[in-house]
């Protein structure tokens, strides 16, 4: 320990402070810090981008599937002037509903499936002048 105004103090043999060593160590850590900083920055940027993309994708994805515009149909309400005892019969009403549903499906059924016709292909390879 150094004591102020100590006549015995030997300034000649005073141990050298290794300043150079400290500077070197600091210099060695600096690029590491820069690397960590850049890496963290890139990671955050990627995360931000990923979140942004996922939001965008959600907005782009249609919530409902495309459905064809329903064809307007004129529904003639059938009026029963003199009802029979079966006009309100549950079984008859149920059958009426089933038949109506069947009618709808009969109208909607596609019995062409034109898009599934076999493809027209050119198998005839010719290398002769016509």
């Amino acid at each position: 320990m150094l004591i102020e105004n100590n006549p015995d103090q030997n300034f000649e043999n005073f141990p050298e402070i290794k300043e150079e060593k400290f500077v070197k160590e600091k210099m060695a850590k600096k690029p590491l810090f820069i690397f960590v900083f850049i890496f963290a920055f890139v990671l955050i940027a990627f995360l931000g981008l990923a979140i942004f993309m996922s939001f965008n994708q959600k907005n782009l994805t249609p919530k409902t599937e495309n459905q064809p515009t329903p064809t307007p149909t004129i529904e003639i309400k059938e009026e029963i002037t003199s009802p029979s005892p079966y006009a309100t019969d549950a079984a008859i009403l149920k059958k009426e509903e089933e038949i109506k549903d069947l009618d709808k499906r009969l109208q909607e059924t596609d019995l062409k499936e034109n898009k599934l016709n076999p493809p027209t292909l050119d198998w005839e390879i010719k290398f002769e002048k016509n």
Binding site: P85, L111, L121, W123
Partner: protein, 275 residues
Amino acid sequence: MKKFCPNKIIIVLFLLSFFFLSPQKSHSEEKIFDADKAFQDYLYNTNLYRESHSEYIVARESYLKYQTLTSKNAALEKTRTMLKNQDEVVKTYLTTLRLKLAEVSGITNYGQNVLYLRVDDEIPWFKKHQESLNSAGTLEDLISLGEDGKEQYQETEILAYQTLGAILTSKQSVLYEEITQRIKELKEKIGEIRAKGDKNTSLAERWLLEAENRLTRSQEKQFNSQQLLAQMKTNDFNKNESYNKAQFAIEESHQYLKEANSYLKEVIRELKNAD
């Protein structure tokens, strides 16, 4: 105080990056491979085929005009690509048909399995044919392989039309079965009403009879269509015409089903109205 350790932070950040940036499956990837997806594949391959066919035509014309080695090599490659794409079109088309067939319910298990087997035999043929195109070294080889494909495609077309016919018929069969069931139920109901004697059922019974007649005619047309499809031959010049006839018969059969159902509506109307 604990010493700051950047190495640990790097490891943590690295692991975190893997956690957050790992590829996530999009909605389309999660979607199962069904007939619609197969159809999209088929359309994509058809477009590729069309493009390669145009390139083949250009390369062929160029070779016929200049007769150089370069143009010959170009023609060879373009023809090979076109034929490969053609095989891919057939493969994806048959896959679409197979998946479409799996979606319909009105076909018997036996009928469905027979068609599955035939389609499953057909797809590998085109796969093999596609592979054999790689070993073709001359234009003559490709011409010969093209001939093989043409011959096989005659069979494929028949299979395709028959499968399509089965798909349409099965849709029709489901509706036919349902109408048959409705007729049966209404018959029972009319029987009950007749037994009670509080309503005259003769008109309703007549409508029901008419519905049954239409059902019989519908089935006749369906058989007619099946026969037309079964009679198709590989050497038929215009298979499309035969198929159109069969398809028209199915439409007629469908029309009879519509009529049968309209008669059932009359039965209900008659039962709801007083005598």
